[in-house]
Subunit: 237 residues, 2 copies
DNA sequence: CATATAAATTGCTATAATAGCAATATGAAA
DNA sequence: TTTCATATTGCTATTATAGCAATTTATATG
């Protein structure tokens, strides 16, 4: 369980929250709107935004609204280059396409999976990468594989009092989820079935920082085979 | 010229500097090493790192070193989804490949260009995207096109007392650069020639937030034609 | 062009956060 | 187990900042 330092850097916490809000906004947002949405007092919001603008991480438009700036793209690129995850994984993921199923790579973020790559059969390479998206973790084999790496307490806290997508909606939802997590830990891969489509995921790295998956009309007795294929692929990344 | 607010958020400024340093590091870095490299007092560095780790933006390894965490990828994806730049631009850039030259899209960051896309002929789609990189702005047509959008004072300050890649190395380097900038402003496109290769770039948006370029063995009398092609492409993004 | 209005931004100061030193805790190596 | 290096905390004097009110900025309207 991650803990804050004795003296957290509060400006950084709030600033990154604002930055994330800018990142998900489809159009520029005003200082006032952000202040209300994030429940941060107006003056403080103004200071955060102008600081981000000064750094080039945000961009202040002519009509005094803010959107994400070039700095965030640079940071994104630098992080991908630095981690080497993308460049190492792409050729390996490409080689998995020959099985004719969906191929994906993703990371876990809170209760969502963030797909860095999601390729459907007959999709162009650009589309696979440009189809960057977020998805509920509990409805994704990648999400479930990565959730299984967390401490039970962490998982319970993450979903406490919330609706868990794909799970029962009463008070027993968490124990239902934990049963599935235990199963995944035992198997060392995650498999999800939905409408005749099976999705299988294995983790990358130890401790895992991402996961890769194959999904499609896979028969039950092919699962073990694909687990093996994915595990080999994971070794190469 | 961007100005800081009356009360800058200093924790945010320092925290993002640390984050960028993590992003460019190829391997996990210790608190002490970062403290020395960025000249931030050790205690403060520890607090920034643990705050970033808590947020999931950084990741603390078993041996107490830090690297970028899943949150940064998510932020990257969200910013690209939010801006729509990548998904809108990819099909257009793909259509430019038929001319058989290098096709690129980039943003300006300080004195570098950050390529979001850089496709050489006969390169696979994955390689074009996975070849994310940074390059000196003054040696890139994209960089020069975007620099020309800045105020003269800003450009002069950016390069004051520095070696300007591709320009003379004496005190007249800035005036040489400014002459080129004036020319680009007048033409409304940037063209650079190096070893028989011409690179042409036009800006995206107004004010410009990115630029696209074509480069290769282009004859001087084809330049106008490619400027026109690029400008049309820019209109579609 | 002048006026009104809404939003952004600053100045001020009481309050809260934090810088950094020294002490303590943690983890790896011998 | 001990040693050593690094990470982290507790403490408090110092500095930053929260937020209110005043001021500035920008846009719309007449």
């Amino acid at each position: 369980m991650k803990k804050l330092p004795a003296q957290p850097v509060n400006g950084l916490i709030d600033g990154l929250e604002v930055l994330q809000e800018l990142a998900v906004s489809r159009s520029p947002v005003s200082c006032k709107a952000l202040s209300e949405k994030l429940n941060i007092e107006l003056t403080r919001m103004n200071r955060i935004l102008k600081t981000l603008d000064y750094l080039g991480i945000a961009y202040r438009t002519q009509d005094r609204k803010y959107k994400s700036g070039p700095g965030i793209h640079v940071l994104a690129i630098q992080s991908m280059l630095g981690s080497g995850l993308f460049s190492k994984a792409l050729p390996v993921l490409e080689s998995l396409q020959k099985y004719g199923h969906v191929v994906a790579l993703g990371v876990l973020w809170k209760d969502t999976v963030s797909y860095l790559y999601h390729h459907k059969p007959d999709m162009s390479a650009y589309e696979a990468i440009a189809s960057l998206s977020l998805y509920p973790a509990t409805q994704s084999s990648i999400g479930m594989a990565l959730l299984s790496e967390k401490e039970n307490d962490e998982i319970k806290e993450l979903y406490n009092g919330k609706i868990i997508p794909g799970y029962r909606t009463d008070y027993k939802n968490i124990s239902e989820l934990m049963d599935e997590i235990e199963k995944i830990r035992h198997q060392e891969y995650a498999a999800l079935t939905k409408k005749g489509v099976i999705s299988i995921a294995v983790k990358l790295g130890s401790p895992a920082y991402a996961a890769i998956a194959v999904s499609g009309k896979i028969s039950a007795n092919e699962v073990t085979e694909y687990v093996s294929i994915l595990s080999e692929a994971a070794e190469k990344i």
